[in-house]
């Protein structure tokens, strides 16, 4: 008899608060952008070209923020801060979409962007305090043989649609399907999003934060954990680890 607690029908999954979460260790992040590249490869992110990228239209779901303080020559650089969709529990992007294209999933407790429902009003992007959402301004080319690089598990988005990090939900589903077919629960560390997989410093840890023994939960509860803009009440699912715990922002 299979012993697992994944219900037969996905729609019936009830999540306790905070199922999938992430922790990012800013003390070891080198700013190499491998996570950004891996995310783009995994999720079929289009290449917008130099001009559009310079104008702030690049479609990367993740960005590495690097700021510095002071005037030259007394400049102090700050940590590298990978910023992605925080999959907020109280996501401000959700109530403002007029067509329910941005909704909260009951089963994975993530914020879902429903591509085929999006009509492109872009209110969600304006309301995201983490500026985590990007918009397809045009249809971007993917000339052969670049089209061979596409991931068949992920939709390719057309112009007029918002997109954002999904915590590699296709990998989450694959992991859960695999575990269910083997009659067991998903193991901690079995589901690895593209960014976590690519990081050479292992700065990104992903897992179930409703499991108090999972690696990501233990890291989140370690003394170094902070959350971005916690005071806004968005309940983000990403914890940033930084010694000299500085409230809210890096540096």
């Amino acid at each position: 008899m299979a012993k697992h607690n994944i219900p037969e029908v996905k729609a019936n999954w009830e999540a306790t608060e905070g199922m999938w979460g992430m922790s990012i260790d800013m003390d070891v992040c080198t700013g190499c952008q491998a996570c950004v590249a891996a995310c783009a490869m995994e999720n079929n992110i289009s290449f917008v070209g130099e001009e559009d990228a310079g104008y702030g239209r690049s479609l990367h779901w993740m960005r590495i923020e690097h700021t510095w303080q002071g005037e030259y020559p007394e400049v102090t650089p700050t940590s590298f801060e990978p910023v992605l969709c925080q999959q907020c529990g109280n996501a401000p992007c959700e109530p403002v979409c007029p067509v329910f294209a941005s909704v909260h999933s009951k089963s994975e407790d993530l914020n879902l962007q429903v591509y085929n429902r999006c009509v492109g009003t872009r209110y969600c992007a304006n309301n995201c305090p983490y500026v985590a959402r990007v918009f397809n301004m045009r249809d971007y080319d993917r000339p052969d043989p670049l089209s061979n690089q596409l991931n068949p598990d992920v939709t390719v988005r057309r112009r007029g649609i918002m997109e954002k990090c999904t915590f590699c939900i296709q990998r989450i589903h694959k992991g859960q399907d695999q575990a269910k077919s083997e009659g067991r629960d998903v193991l901690d560390g079995e589901v690895v999003p593209a960014c976590a997989q690519a990081c050479p410093a292992d700065a990104i840890v992903f897992g179930r934060i409703d499991d108090p023994e999972s690696k990501v939960s233990l890291l989140a509860k370690s003394g170094r954990g902070i959350q971005l803009f916690e005071e806004l009440g968005t309940l983000p699912r990403v914890t940033y680890l930084k010694e000299e715990k500085t409230y809210g922002r890096t540096g």
Partner: protein, 484 residues
């Protein structure tokens, strides 16, 4: 005392010439004291509608060309290629399209202000231009609707905002201010079009009686068989009164809901609780200035309009423009003081960007043209009564109100809580598309002026019936009877 329009003017037996002059002056000044036979006024309005010079058609064709190119061609390209040819980026996801939407909805409040608010307050000077103002509402809302459609990424799916039962069982999200916008703007569009049509019916009947050919067919159809029987007037009067009172909360709610598109968002500079009334007053400001502009142009370009629209009307509108400008300044300062005072880091950066950033000149221009200009000029009666100067002032106020919305939308969107993402907004095809909407507004208005009698003659006659000169002591004073 005979008081109908086709009765002789008030006779008085005294041979006091100063009093004569005073009364003659009053008659020249006030349309309501200068009645002409109704038949004559009907003929004047019909003439202004029918007589068209070649210059009119030159302008109309030029505007049509502008609309076809700026609006038609560029919008087609934007739908086919995507919003990439516009200027939006991250983080400025809303740009001039939203500015135009708010701007046109603001202009559309002009009509309701004149035809409903002034009617409720029994301001008699509204009578000759209520329809001219109400037309602005309808056509302004058309431009606002176009601008909203323009900003959508997948406009061909716009109908999903409409609540209709479907196979997927999906309904619009009424948590979203954009859904409230959809309901409110459509309610307002339908209501103000109905409110435009109801008082138009008797004038369509008049036009029907005085037309031949295709016009007769058109007006006969649109006049619905109206004759002016007691019953018809009873029903119409009740409906018009109800509309006047009821459309006021709708008007207030529409622009408040539009303001909530911004106030409901958790952005520095946007989540301000004063946005509701601030936007409503801003709408009245730009709307009223636009009414002034439109009736000055109507008065200058259409035949016989100088009888109906007199310096007294410009005077009254100018006074209102001054008062609303003071109200706008009050609400602006409320918003600004509170933001400036509390020292929130991001709001501070935002305010500095507004005032000292690359668009700082716009911020100063907004304040100078919205506040200093009216306050320095509109207290003066001669300035208010001068059509050219009032037109320029009205135009500059509208420019300043457009700037205000530009500062609130694309300029504020550049600033958020992640300086790494700050980007400046550079408009692309928004510019020809905006020009296209302005051209379409003017074109629609011009064409409507050929088909719809712009002056509600029956309302003017009703007003003239109600007005008389009454002697208080030695002075003849304008007296208004409350005929409702």
């Amino acid at each position: 005392m005979a008081v109908l329009a086709n009765s002789a003017p008030h006779q008085h037996s005294q041979a006091n010439s100063a009093e004569h002059d005073h009364e003659a002056h009053l008659r020249e000044e006030h349309l309501m004291l200068d009645p002409r036979p109704r038949g004559e006024m009907n003929a004047m309005v019909m003439e202004s509608m029918l007589v068209t010079s070649w210059k009119f058609w030159v302008v109309a064709v030029a505007l049509a060309a502008v609309v076809a190119y700026c609006l038609g061609y560029y919008w087609y390209r934007m739908i086919a290629e995507g919003l990439g040819i516009a200027g939006v980026n991250r983080p400025v996801y809303w740009g001039i399209f939203l500015v135009n939407t708010v701007f046109w909805i603001g202009i559309s409040h002009a009509g309701t202000f004149v035809s409903a608010l002034l009617r409720v307050f029994k301001a008699e000077f509204r009578r000759p231009f209520t329809r001219a103002a109400e037309l602005m509402t309808t056509f302004g809302l058309v431009q606002a609707g176009l601008s909203i459609f323009m900003h959508m990424g997948r406009i061909w799916l716009a109908y999903w905002l409409f609540p209709y039962p479907n196979e997927r069982g999906l309904w619009p999200n009424f948590h979203s201010p954009l859904s409230w916008d959809f309901l409110a703007i459509n309610t307002y569009l339908l209501s103000s079009t109905m409110y435009l049509f109801l008082p138009l019916i008797p004038d369509l009947a008049m036009a029907r009686d005085r037309s031949t050919g295709w016009r007769k067919v058109l007006y006969r159809t649109l006049a619905l068989g109206f004759r002016g029987t007691e019953g018809e007037w009873t029903h119409l009067r009740f409906a018009m009164n109800l509309f006047a009172f009821a459309i006021l909360p709708v008007m207030f709610s529409v622009h408040t809901i539009v303001s909530w598109d911004f106030a409901a968002a958790m952005r520095p500079g946007w989540s301000s609780t004063i946005f509701g009334p601030y936007f409503v007053v801003g709408a009245l400001q730009s709307g009223l200035s636009a009414v002034a502009m439109v009736i000055i142009v109507v008065r200058a370009t259409m035949k016989n309009m100088k009888y109906f629209i007199r310096p007294e009307h410009l005077d009254a509108i100018g006074k209102l423009m001054l008062i609303i400008s003071m109200a706008w300044a009050y609400f602006f300062f409320n918003d600004y003081l509170v933001q400036w005072y509390n020292g929130d880091k991001w709001t501070d950066i935002l305010l500095k960007f507004h005032e000292e950033g690359p668009i700082g000149w716009m911020w100063y221009a907004m304040l100078i043209l919205n506040v200093a200009l009216p306050w320095l000029t509109l207290w003066n009666k001669n300035i208010r009564r001068n059509p050219t100067i009032l037109f320029i002032i009205g135009f500059l106020i509208n420019v300043a109100m457009w700037f205000e919305r530009y500062i609130i939308i694309p300029t504020s969107l550049s600033i958020n809580r992640f300086p790494f993402t700050y980007q400046f907004y550079k408009p692309g095809v928004e510019i020809p598309l905006s020009i296209g909407t302005v051209a379409l507004f003017v074109l629609l208005y011009m064409l409507a002026s050929r088909i719809i009698p712009l002056v509600p003659v029956w309302e003017v006659q009703e007003g003239q019936m109600a007005h008389s000169l009454r002697k208080f002591g030695k002075e003849s004073i304008v007296t208004v009877s409350d005929l409702e």
